[in-house]
């Protein structure tokens, strides 16, 4: 039975992916991509990774999909979407087929010759879990055992926003998209947004002992923000620029401060003081959730807003 589900899922995933790739219509591609994300979420659950399933649904399918769709809409609006899309050349097709087949063969070869791993990392995790301050392994890994990765990862997020902001060159940009004056949406929003906020809080809270955590919570928050934004309630415009920035950076800053304080306290970087791990992790997660929400929103709005023309930038040098 399980096998059947798995195989169906597998077939579905591949089919959807193929459709998404090869579909003539770009819109269709994006839709199928979002669909793929959702299907994958199922797959993740089958793999016993509900955290990833959540993240996939919220981030992989949700945020990415929204971003893609929004861009698509923008491109559509200018009407030049498919015009200059010519058929790729024959050699390119050949190259593509060749490389993907090679990749697949290589991967298959690798997968079917899998040796037994010498190290059972999950045993180590189990062993160290009590010292981590949280009871959920994933959160422990993310925010304690491998918190350094997470720190850098948040850095990546911040950086993405930063690049967007830097490219924007002017902070007081008007959105090109007007708010959607859709009363139905408005009505939905009044119900949906609070629910999403609560979900987000719950996910955050749950993260310490069961699936959930800052990223999923942040994604949920972001989704709420984006919905608000789409409905014309523009968070970024209402918050002052400085506040917005502070919000964006809050998570990262808190993380960094905690990390540094441990160094000042004579411990290695990111090492939590004895017994304070749980609290500090929660603090970090809280800040992260807010920041991730804002960051994802910013990514959306930045992508959304057309940049200033290049003439205003680069006055000094090339």
């Amino acid at each position: 039975m399980n096998l059947l589900i798995d195989l169906t899922l597998l077939t579905g995933i591949l089919a959807i992916a193929a459709t998404s790739l090869l579909s003539r219509s770009l819109f269709q591609s994006v839709i199928f991509f979002i669909l793929l994300g959702l299907t994958l979420a199922l797959g993740w659950i089958r793999l016993g990774a509900p955290d990833i399933a959540l993240a996939e649904a919220a981030i992989g399918a949700g945020i990415t999909g929204v971003l893609l769709l929004d861009t698509l809409g923008h491109l559509k609006k200018t009407g030049k979407l498919d015009k200059d899309e010519h058929r790729p050349s024959y050699p390119r097709l050949l190259l593509a087929i060749l490389s993907s087949v090679t990749l697949v063969v290589l991967l298959l070869w690798a997968v079917f010759h899998q040796p037994t791993p010498a190290i059972q990392l999950h045993l180590l995790v189990e062993e160290a879990l009590p010292d981590s301050g949280v009871s959920h392994q994933i959160t422990a890994v993310l925010l304690n055992f491998r918190s350094y990765d997470t720190l850098l990862e948040v850095g990546v997020l911040v950086l993405a926003v930063l690049v967007g902001l830097a490219l924007q060159t002017d902070q007081h940009q008007q959105d090109s998209l007007p708010g959607l004056p859709n009363p139905l949406l408005h009505a939905c929003l009044t119900l949906l947004v609070p629910a999403m906020l609560i979900t987000s809080m719950y996910l955050l809270w749950a993260g310490s002992d069961r699936p959930g955590g800052a990223f999923q919570a942040g994604a949920m928050l972001a989704a709420a923000f984006i919905l608000l934004h789409l409905s014309g309630i523009k968070l970024s415009a209402q918050l002052s620029h400085r506040m917005m920035q502070f919000g964006l950076l809050l998570g990262f800053t808190v993380f960094l401060v905690v990390a540094t304080s441990s160094v000042i306290g004579g411990r290695p970087l990111l090492a939590y003081p004895d017994g304070g791990a749980g609290l500090l992790i929660l603090l970090i997660e809280l800040a992260l959730t807010l920041s991730i929400g804002l960051i994802l929103l910013s990514l959306f709005t930045i992508a959304n807003s057309p940049p200033l023309s290049s003439r205003s930038g680069g006055s000094n040098g090339h």
Binding site: L10, T64, T78
Partner: protein, 101 residues
């Protein structure tokens, strides 16, 4: 034929498809989608393959995949910012045709 293997294979398929699309397509959005396919495939392989080896649910790799997903979405967002800028400046959705990937 356990779940892990099946999804690993699924990941392989996604990677193959994604790579194909990434090379084959010129349209920047399509290539971005292809990239995301590769990403998803990779994540599947990561988890599936690791868990197949370990024989149990591996939380470490799941945490890593979470990180990976976040990074991927950042990358997508960044790429979209650039693409839209590019589109705004040049009115084109693909790069000048002087090379493949």
């Amino acid at each position: 034929m356990d779940t892990n293997l099946i999804f690993t294979l699924g990941g392989i398929g996604l990677c193959g498809l994604g790579l194909f699309g990434f090379i084959y397509h010129c349209h920047l959005l399509r290539r971005l989608i292809a990239f995301n396919l590769i990403g998803n495939g990779t994540f599947l392989i990561m988890v599936g393959f690791a868990q197949r080896g370990q024989g149990v649910t591996d939380h470490v790799i799941q945490a890593l995949v979470l990180t990976g997903i976040v990074v991927a979405v950042s990358a997508t967002a960044l790429a979209l910012v650039l693409i839209r800028r590019w589109f705004h400046l040049k009115g084109s959705t693909q790069l000048p045709e002087d090379d493949a990937s």
